[in-house]
Symmetry: C2
Subunit: 147 residues, 2 copies
């Protein structure tokens, strides 16, 4: 079935994933993570933002062409606060860079994959994003990111 969907939806076998956009990491202390990456790993912050929707503070640390996205809850009702409470610090999700988020969502839906966002929505730093459910992605929470 997947082969058929692929040939119908992506007749040119165009890769959906351009590369790893970011690794989302839940942390208790954003400043500690930033400081560690600066002083030990020699990596710098490229962007910081407060994401209102998720009540989370984000710091993007540049590593090659990708980012480490450190996420720290701004209040206890944040989904990241619940993640930290349940599992402690660690990887929260992976961001795949795509050319066209809407197109990618269409392909994944046509393939029967379960999406958390049925349609693309605004992400941080002006991106367009959509989350794919871990049940359709080998237990990984995947974020599609169009820059």
């Amino acid at each position: 079935m997947s082969d058929q969907i692929h040939s119908e939806v992506m007749p040119e076998l165009k890769p959906l994933i351009k590369g790893i956009d970011h690794i989302g990491i839940a942390v208790f202390d954003l400043e500690q993570a930033i400081s560690q990456y600066r002083t030990i790993w020699g990596a710098e912050v490229a962007h910081q933002e407060y994401i209102e929707k998720d009540r989370v503070n984000e710091a993007l640390v540049a590593v090659g062409g990708s980012y480490l996205q450190f996420l720290s809850p701004a209040d206890p009702s944040s989904p990241v606060a619940k993640f930290l409470e349940r599992r402690g610090e660690g990887i929260h999700h992976i961001g795949y860079r795509v050319d066209n988020c809407s197109y990618a969502v269409g392909v994944l839906k046509a393939a029967g994959m379960r999406l958390i966002d049925e349609a693309p929505r605004p992400g941080s730093r002006g991106t367009t994003i959509a989350f794919v459910h871990p049940a359709s992605a080998n237990g990984m929470l995947i974020e599609l990111v169009e820059e």
Copy 2:
């Protein structure tokens, strides 16, 4: 302390991390993962290998300049089998690409970080690797990878 270590060990502030080498993902069925990425995501296998030490089958799927490294246990005594039993499918570790694994291990040790491998050792596809303990890395299991 970290600032001092950094200036002593890395006076030129040279970044240790060149980029994301791979995302290591534990899966039950390697062929299912490969097939899904080929037919839905349009991504191809770049390398496959049986890693004797860990009794694990590896498939590297190329995404931009990085890899998705799918890992499936070859027998029930494999560490990946235990991971799957305990947590199900999901992200097992992250590989950071470095210029010189031995140098990176030296910097991290000097900074007081806990390493799983005290010295670099051979990895798959002819790489030189060392694992950093999650306790020193915001709950992430990190693999340093020198190609």
